[in-house]
Symmetry: C2
Subunit: 347 residues, 2 copies
């Protein structure tokens, strides 16, 4: 790869009510960006791929603007400063920035966050020490308010957020049950991460179990009901969890990946208002940027847990920016094993 | 009416996935109850009719046991102690008790609450100073946490709970918008209760408006979105409210009367998980008996508001226990004007 060229991934087409395909993206090789006054030029090391990006591909109303057709796909990366026209950054600094899906980016210096390379490996700033880890931490502790002995169910349990949720819940003395989409993932969260139990929401043929079977399976693993359901997925697993919610249970709506390919349609299905009333349960939406004031608390706490080996974190690294579309499409259907990253540069 | 006879209303048949009809009840005249050791004999003055009783007619799982076929319909009443075999009650005491739908009842003394006849008229202990008023008070203030200048939308706005919700929200400095099922009710909450605005969710022909029309009408009356939606009904109005929920909005699930005739079926419809997430909104079920520790605070506060004329309360009184089934059926379809009561005895 020449130092004089930059490879980027653009949004070519919006997938409407369908899963994204590779032709929705365009990989383009072009000139290096030139940092303007106050900007820094960053060479990315790792790009983060996250489910929320499916929302950015859609023109449906959301909490953030969609990516324009022909625009660089939105995304956060960790990289090294190549050159700086901002007093706060020096060449060689390790930084976190919303660069989009590209190898190099010129970013305003005030939107760049320096990170401490001694605290953890660089990729962790996109995962366990970054947005997904902080999502798990703030949503579980501040919306969920877990108490020792309570039962926490987490969906997408082996994903970037789910694996952290379960381990923090264990630290807090909860009984933790994970839901995942393969026997391998189920074994991972139970045997490697120390979840008390886990179950596969899919049948051996890969199709989802039916609602009755799944809710009975959850009931058997959560005999006293679910005190906290950490919902990363919506849809079927949400329904089976709600059928088992305990009195005064909390449902944290953190993601709805099961309906991300139908964002332009109404989500029609079972409604649980009567259940919320009967169980006096609370369902609440979560976005991590409302908790920005907790960043330092989170970083310090999580770094300590990592150091002490109380939290482990699995990453799934695709090689090269060109691999990003395929890795992203795979992640949306659960093909990843842990936090999905793309290595965009070697050191 | 002979002093030696007692007229009661029994559950004859469970309505399943349909509205109750008069033949689901049986009015029976029989012997006076005999108070046993520790019991008091009460002559009821007013019986309360409340939407939750539709749930008690159903065998579907809920927070309380269903009424048995052939059993006296469950309900709370205010009445006068006739004779007492419990040291805490004297003949002539004005009391509140779960007597069921009947003129006389023998009730364990420890389950009887003496009420203060000087604080308010007896019927108010079933309404504005009773369970519906306390529901409005605790749910709005402790789940809703209203702030001055915020917009509160309340459904079934002229009902026993709704009229109190709106007036408390006004006392707290909120902008209050009511939803009701007739132009007369709309005029009542706007012109008599001082709501800032109100709208009829029905078309002139009595059929409900469609979702788009209703949500646009709400949007026009709540231009900054809804900070608190006090939901007494579920269904269509819930959907139109959720479409307009503001960032960090709260949805208090207090009743689901729109689906009470389909309790045995799944409530299938639009789901708002994505909206909860995007708006970081909170939806929470409410039952007043979780707030029993707030009874004294509520009674004192509400009595003061009544004395000062800051809260007014409309009651709709049906005459005679025999009228209870028809009044109850009417209430479920919105025929009542204000809190529905049955006068079961004169003084």
């Amino acid at each position: 790869m020449s130092e004089r060229q930059n490879t980027r991934v653009l949004l070519a087409e919006r997938p409407v009510n369908r899963a994204p395909v590779e032709s929705d993206f365009r990989v383009e090789r072009g000139a290096m960006p030139e940092p303007g006054e106050g900007e820094v030029l960053i060479r990315n090391l790792f790009l983060s791929l996250d489910p929320y990006m499916r929302g950015r591909m859609s023109a449906a109303k959301s909490y953030a603007e969609p990516v324009a057709i022909g625009g660089v796909m939105a995304g956060e990366a960790v990289g090294r400063v190549v050159s700086s026209r901002h007093p706060g950054c020096q060449p060689g600094d390790l930084v976190l920035a919303h660069t989009g899906w590209q190898e190099y980016a010129a970013v305003p210096g005030e939107r760049v966050t320096k990170v401490d390379p001694d605290l953890a490996q660089p990729s962790h700033y996109l995962g366990v020490l970054g947005m997904p880890g902080m999502t798990a931490y703030c949503a579980l502790l501040y919306l969920g308010e877990p108490q020792p002995g309570q039962t926490v169910l987490v969906s997408a349990a082996s994903g970037a957020v789910g694996q952290v949720v379960g381990q923090i819940a264990k630290i807090r003395g909860c009984r933790v049950v994970g839901v995942a989409g393969s026997d391998e993932k189920v074994a991972y969260v139970r045997d490697e991460l120390g979840f008390d139990a886990a179950l596969n929401y899919k049948k051996p043929d890969g199709s989802p179990k039916d609602f009755e079977a799944l809710s009975q399976e959850i009931a058997a693993l959560c005999p006293d009901g679910i005190n906290i359901y950490f919902d990363n997925v919506g849809g079927l697993v949400h329904d089976a969890a709600l059928a088992n919610i305990a009195q005064f249970g909390r449902i944290i709506v953190c993601g709805t990946i099961s309906v991300y390919n139908e964002l332009e349609k109404q989500d029609i299905g079972r409604r649980w208002m009567r259940q919320l009333l009967v169980k006096r349960a609370r369902m609440e939406g979560f976005l991590v940027f409302d908790h920005a004031h907790r960043t330092e608390e989170f970083r310090q706490t999580m770094a300590a847990w990592l150091r002490e080996g109380r939290i482990v974190f699995r990453e799934d690294v695709a090689e090269g920016i060109e691999a990003a579309p395929r890795a992203f499409i795979g992640m949306l259907s659960g093909a990843n094993r842990g936090k999905q990253l793309v290595r965009t540069g070697q050191e």
